[in-house]
Amino acid sequence: MVLLIFYPAAQSIVRTLTIDVDGQPGLSLSRYTAFFRDPISVANLMFTFQITILVLVVMFIVCFPLSIYLRFASGRIASAVQVLVLFPLFVPGIILCYALIRFLGSHGTLESILTGVGFSGYRTPYLKPNAIIFALVWESIPFTVLILTAGLRQVSNELIECARDVGANNWHIFTRIILPLIKRPVLIVFSLSFLGIFGSYTVPYLLGPASPQMMGVFMQQTFGQYRRPDDAETQAVITFLICSFVGFLYVRTVVSQRQTQREDE
């Protein structure tokens, strides 16, 4: 792992700092100032942040009710929901993209259904930011629900019944009892999903707009099409630093969990 990941990453960081924009050796930040001075690069970075945050927000809004339902419900419908929730796990990203082009695209399934019920004026999200959000949320549902339900299983039924006995309503139970108890799984889902979304490629490439682009697409483009490996390297290092910050959050959460467990024992 050190050899395959840390060594080349460190090498890249050093290279971006010691060789300047014109290829001259010498310690300089010129590559980074060039990146942040270029409105298109900055727009792409901001766009990536924006998409990532929006996907995370929508993902939690969708997944919390689902996980709570799956935690407390039982029976046939619940198992059916469970299967449906896990289904995206088995669909490769590229298949999802082509399916969504058919579903969301103009004259696609969704528009036909909407027209059927008398709604007109549908504007397709295909090749727009919304399509990226839609697909990435869909892709991240199974993982999020799995982790959240696992976390929720640790909240005992007695605790909730007690709260209910003293007159707490559902909202209170959720914000005062459940949420604090599953803070850790939430943080884990947040950081791991952040990493996956920030570096996503297939979905923003096939469903997103030509401009602005998410960093994954932008890097590939700069490297392969514009033939500027140096610029691509700078973009990669910036992306890497942002992701390692979030990765650090994840590691800290996991470590503190281990520690509490040890203390409990």
């Binding site: 270029d38 727009a43 082009i101 103009s106 397709t124 096939l206 030509a210 483009q221 099409q225």
Partner: protein, 380 residues
């Protein structure tokens, strides 16, 4: 002479009566890394037709698509075999750029194809611009595909200027893909560059990078920028040739740029409706290209390989290139059946401009992304 033909007849009879076992026939090892439609066509059309004509040979096709460096690796293996005098185990490469590795040409890896060894090579048109080592056998060109239910025949643009005007007059009805994600969109962009540099593709020579020419690119960005908001969904550019065909197929747009072979095949398969028609610009057509086969000089079955090369250039296979692959013939259209010419009259052209790619390609793609696809002004 008499004896020879008698002998030939006798051997044919024997071949006919005694069923020929696979191992009795001399194999011709063919390698390809082209798309499925091409390798399938070889399996289903070329191989049976060739083996019926030349029962003494057997085509053994190996598909190396997506495997390492594809046919480039096979050529390198042949080069290594050339140096050691071993059997290269390859007799014909279906499609390769013989120039892409300088060592190949420097070591005379490829057999020179002449009238003597491949008689049909004389019929190949000049537009293919072939090197002596190349056997061009199929071509494809980007053209306009439109829905004739929505676009009247007399409305179809015949020049690039008319096309730009048509797009402005019909907002949302035209789409092309990102130029780095498929040749059909790239042709729309390169055609804009040709337009602003005097409609002379010969100015663009592979390799050398002419700063003066690149300095004129911004005029092309202005031209394409002027239609940006009139493109499908106010400037949504799909990421490939196929998504563009799909938008035409489902009626989202009524005109696109498309590869001739992909469009014709889609029409034949019913993916594109029958109302789909094709047209080519008459002032300067869109770019296109040919596929070139090559024979390693150290092949152990050169006779079989040149027979195959010659066979590919017969009218039979050239007609199949048009009808089955939707490609363009490499021989003059006049040598093909008149019905076929009539059917394709709107797209037939002897001018097939090429775009050099390389550094020009990088400048084209980057310029397009930074100036046409976005409304961010980089200079601000």
């Amino acid at each position: 002479m008499k004896l020879r033909s008698l002998f030939l007849l006798a051997s044919l009879l024997i071949l006919g009566v005694v069923s020929v076992h696979a191992q009795d026939r001399k194999p011709i090892y063919v390698y390809t890394d082209s798309d499925t439609n091409i390798s399938d066509w070889w399996t289903n059309t070329v191989k049976p037709a060739f083996e019926a004509e030349y029962p003494e040979y057997e085509i053994v096709q190996t598909i190396v698509r997506g495997v390492g460096g594809g046919v480039g690796d096979i050529a390198n293996r042949a080069l290594a075999a050339l140096e050691t005098g071993d059997d290269p185990q390859v007799d014909f490469i279906e499609s390769i750029n013989v120039e892409s590795n300088a060592d190949w040409l420097a070591n005379d890896l490829w057999l020179e194809v002449t009238e003597e060894n491949v008689p049909n090579i004389v019929n190949v048109v000049a537009a293919t611009n072939r090197l002596p080592q190349e056997v061009p056998y199929r071509g494809s060109q980007v053209l306009l595909a439109y829905n004739s239910d929505l676009v009247a025949e007399d409305e179809v643009p015949t020049t690039y200027a008319e096309l730009i005007q048509w797009i402005k007059d019909h907002p949302g009805q035209f789409v092309y893909n990102r130029p780095d994600r498929g040749g059909s969109g790239a042709a729309m962009v390169t055609r804009a560059i040709f337009e602003v540099t005097g409609q002379d593709p010969s100015l663009f020579v592979p390799g050398e990078f002419d700063e003066d020419l690149v300095a004129q690119f911004p005029k092309a960005w202005d031209l394409l920028g002027s239609i940006h908001s009139s493109i499908y969904e106010e400037g949504a550019y799909p990421a490939g040739n196929t998504p563009v065909l799909e938008l035409l197929a489902n009626g989202s747009v009524s005109m696109i740029t498309a590869w001739s072979d992909q469009a014709l095949q889609a029409i034949n398969l019913g993916v594109l409706p029958e109302s789909t028609k094709l047209a080519q610009l008459t002032d300067l057509p869109f770019t296109g290209g040919y596929s070139y086969g090559a024979i390693p000089a150290n092949s152990t079955n050169v006779e079989g390989a040149v027979a195959l090369a010659n066979f590919l250039l017969t009218p039979e296979i050239q007609v199949a290139v048009v009808e089955q692959l939707g490609g363009f013939p490499v021989v003059s259209w006049e040598t093909l059946p008149p019905e076929l010419q009539e059917q394709y009259t709107s797209v037939i052209t002897d001018v097939v401009p090429t775009w050099p790619g390389g550094d020009y390609g990088a400048a084209m793609v980057e310029g397009w992304y930074n100036n046409v696809a976005t409304n961010i002004d980089r200079s601000s």
